[in-house]
Amino acid sequence: MRRALRRHGTLSLLPLRRLRRQAVAACGGLLAVGLVTAGCGAAGANPGGDTPVGGGTVTYALQPNQTPDYIFPFTNGNAFTVANTDTFQFLMYRPLYWFGDRALPYLNEKYSVADPPVYHGQIVTFKLKKQYKWSNGTPVTAQDVLFWVHMQQAVGASDWGGYVPHEFPTNISSIRAIGQDEIKMVIVGRYSRLWFTDNELSQITPMPLYWDRTSATATSDCAQVVSDCAAVYNYLNGQSKNPGTWPGSPLWSIVDGPWKLVSYSAQQGLAFKFNAAYGGPAAKHHIRTFVERPFTSEEAEYNVLQAGGSNGLDVGYMPTVDAPVPPPGNQLGTNPVGGYKLQAVYVWGLSYFAYNFSSADPQLAVASQLYIRQAIQLLENQAAIIQGPLHGYGKVTAGPVGGYPPTKYLSPLAKRGDPYPYNPLEARTMLADHGWTVSPATGTLTCTDPGSGARQCGKGITRGTPLKLNMYYSTGTSWLESAVLQLKSNAAQVGINILVTGQTFDQVIAEVTGQACSSGKCPWELADWGLGWSYSPDYMPTGDELFQTGAAANLGQYTNARNDELIEQTLHNYSNADMWKWENFLTTQLPIGLQPNGVSALVESIGSLHIGTQSSTLSINPEEWYYVR
């Protein structure tokens, strides 16, 4: 969850910040290759002509309660949200490498500040593109990169929201500038080039040397001396407070991205003007002003979108509950909002619920049985969830790698669809074959044949043990609540008693990661905090952060030696075959419950505006948007 979890910096496990809390996309439409395409299915839309018109303003709806509140791009875990990074900071401060190539979450060289890295053994070098300049006139240099990396080395473990223990920058032994625009790093250990670029270099955002200071008047030297960085960080973090002071700030007005913040109001929104000094790519007839408007609820946003008028939205979104069901074979239904084009955006991530493999779980013996997890998976009716509460806007999750958009990482087996299609009869048979019988008194399955044999309940399960599981789930996302209740109902039909407890996202995470799970009883067997995990800023979906033994985001504390071994292979010498091998293996082990990936946003863009296909990484490029007539 990248950042996704971010807002919850309550966790000490930093990668948790990537746990996704809800649909966070701002705008985006995505679509998988060859599937949904921008604007398709927009019956009633007025696409206008095809002659670009220069200039203009776009008013863009932020997701409910997702107003950016942190501007310093070295973002701490508490502020590590899509709203702060992808739809705010990235507009002004460009990451070294940009990910999101139309719908696919791959490296996008066009929008990257540096040329692709070059690897020679364990040495990696990259050159900054010459056309990028800060808005104060100075070029973006290697020193700006050193500034960032040194800050990560100094305070990254405590203050960088994307920090992963034992990985970047711990896994480099040296970094230095070669001339003005080139960087050379020496990597500790052996990693695949793809992994190092997509999951490590992807974190870096060059920072202007003007920020290298400890007060408005005192400069520092964090770009050269790591020990100077903590004080610099404290100053910059302090300056990132009180958002009303950001516009016009001598610090934050120095940008290398295409947009400059000119006003900030929590109620009225944020206004950006195009940065005339921007050296990167932009549409020839791009818009000149970009306004992000906050909303208190999806309903409020949708009302404003539908009402239109002078206070209307140019880019907004439709709540899933209002979404038109697509006709068979189509990706989108008929757009009910006249004059707008509809896109469906699916985030690059993995949707799942966790099982608890912690020794602190009193029901560990039950959750540890593979056949029980398989039975539960057979009761998870992904197709019904997609067609029901998701109104057709969901994608099947088929394994430990996100299935949509369909990337090169997805195994051919996973591309075939749900590996455990809904089959309560098979689930019932599977449990009966392992010694479980429905108790006439309670209607719940109880173990009547304890033991470790192939057709017995399993190790640690005693006679009379009821098949009763506690599940925490996050309330607030209607389709997810429906999915959880549907699973409970389906399970009850075969005699599994799932006791569901709805809590806020924060509470679920606190339960899963809290003190009870490390020192005492950890009373949950299943936990669903929302939408699982989003791959950002680690865009390559290797399992080292989610499934490897001891990984910080391995919330269920799953451990499997074969799995660890296969993950290591994907890290050190990448090949699709290795990735697929790991993926197929773990699909059979079900360390997580697979659930549909619900649409992140149903984006509505006004017919006369061209915004193109939006990215599954949820970043946006309004400098590429233009009006047509």
Binding site: G244, T296, S297, N303, A307
Partner: protein
């Protein structure tokens, strides 16, 4: 009257202190204590130092309370590490919006409810009374999200007569003059309040109309309009004053549903968000202000009674 006023103000101040102790004590009693509650979202060493300063963490509870109270008395309600801004600035942004919305709705409701209630009392049992009573029940029973949604769909989305959201411009004057955006949320909120107020005014007026002094007034030749305006109205205001006084904390606390529906980041919406995010500094600061509002409302209601009914001010408690 002055003695009465001073006594009530002193009582109000004592209650306020008790409210603050209660609030701070509740924070101390949270699982894990105030440190865990407040620091849950704090990731930086600078943040830790700020929290220790604002809430006196590390000190005994009494000293912590005095430290916090000192900060509050200096206008520092704490810092929201979730929203990355001071509680005072959140309050300054949301309170005017809520006041404009809820006060306008309350005033509108009172202005309409008093004549309506009097009319019902004067025509008790008539068709007019029955129709208005029926409408009151509908207004009272209709969920605000439903009424608001209907009003938006009809008057904003379809007819474009009003805006689909509340006023977005900063400043009380700008909001009050933005009648196009202010109308629907105010009407939505006023309907419920109006129905309640009208019912109370009707009941009080019916009681007044049965009093001897009304019979005397009529015997002296006073017509119905004069009876209602000069003799019944003042006595019928007692329950309205009570309701208005009790409404002050509600007015300050905002109207979560209406604010959420009409995109108004007011007190109610901010409080709800703070509760969801476990943003205790915001909860503490906002509830303190609302608690102060409750005490103030009670005080104003008491003073209102004394003005409306001179007998009250002479009663010693």
């Amino acid at each position: 009257m002055i003695t009465y006023l001073v006594r009530r103000v002193l009582q109000a101040l004592a209650v306020l202190v008790l409210v603050s102790i209660l609030l701070f004590g509740m924070l101390w009693l949270l699982p894990g204590g105030p440190k865990q509650a407040i620091l849950s979202g704090v990731h930086t060493s600078a943040g830790l130092a700020g929290v220790r300063r604002d809430y006196g963490l590390g000190s005994p509870a009494v000293l912590g309370y005095l430290s916090w109270l000192g900060q509050v008395l200096h206008g520092n309600l704490g810092y929201s590490y979730v929203e990355n801004t001071s509680v005072s600035s959140l309050l300054a942004a949301s309170l005017p919006r809520t006041l404009v919305l809820t006060l306008t709705a309350t005033v509108l409701a009172i202005v309409v409810a008093i004549p309506v209630g009097l009319l019902q009392a004067a025509r008790r049992g008539s068709a007019t009374d029955h129709v208005i009573r029926g409408l009151s029940y509908v207004g009272y029973g209709m969920p605000s999200f439903f009424l608001g949604s209907i009003l938006i769909l009809v008057f904003a989305v379809r007819e474009h007569m009003f805006g689909a959201e509340g006023p977005q411009q900063p400043g009380v004057v700008a909001m009050l003059t933005d009648w196009r955006d202010l109308t629907l949320p105010v009407v939505t909120l006023a309907v419920l309040t109006l129905a309640i107020f009208a019912r109370y005014v009707r009941t009080a007026a019916i009681d007044s109309l049965a009093q001897d002094y009304i019979r005397t007034a009529r015997a002296a030749g006073a017509g119905q309009p004069r009876v209602l305006s000069r003799h019944v109205l003042r006595n019928s205001l007692i329950p309205v004053i009570t309701l208005a006084g009790l409404s002050i904390p509600r007015i300050l606390a905002g109207a979560l549903v209406v604010e959420s529906l009409f995109n108004i980041e007011g007190m109610g919406w901010q409080l709800w968000q703070a509760a969801l995010k476990h943003d205790f500094p915001v909860l503490l600061g906002f509830i303190l202000v609302i608690g102060a509002g409750a005490v103030l409302g009670s005080l104003l209601a008491d003073l209102g009674y004394a003005i409306a009914d001179p007998r009250i001010r002479y009663v010693r408690t």
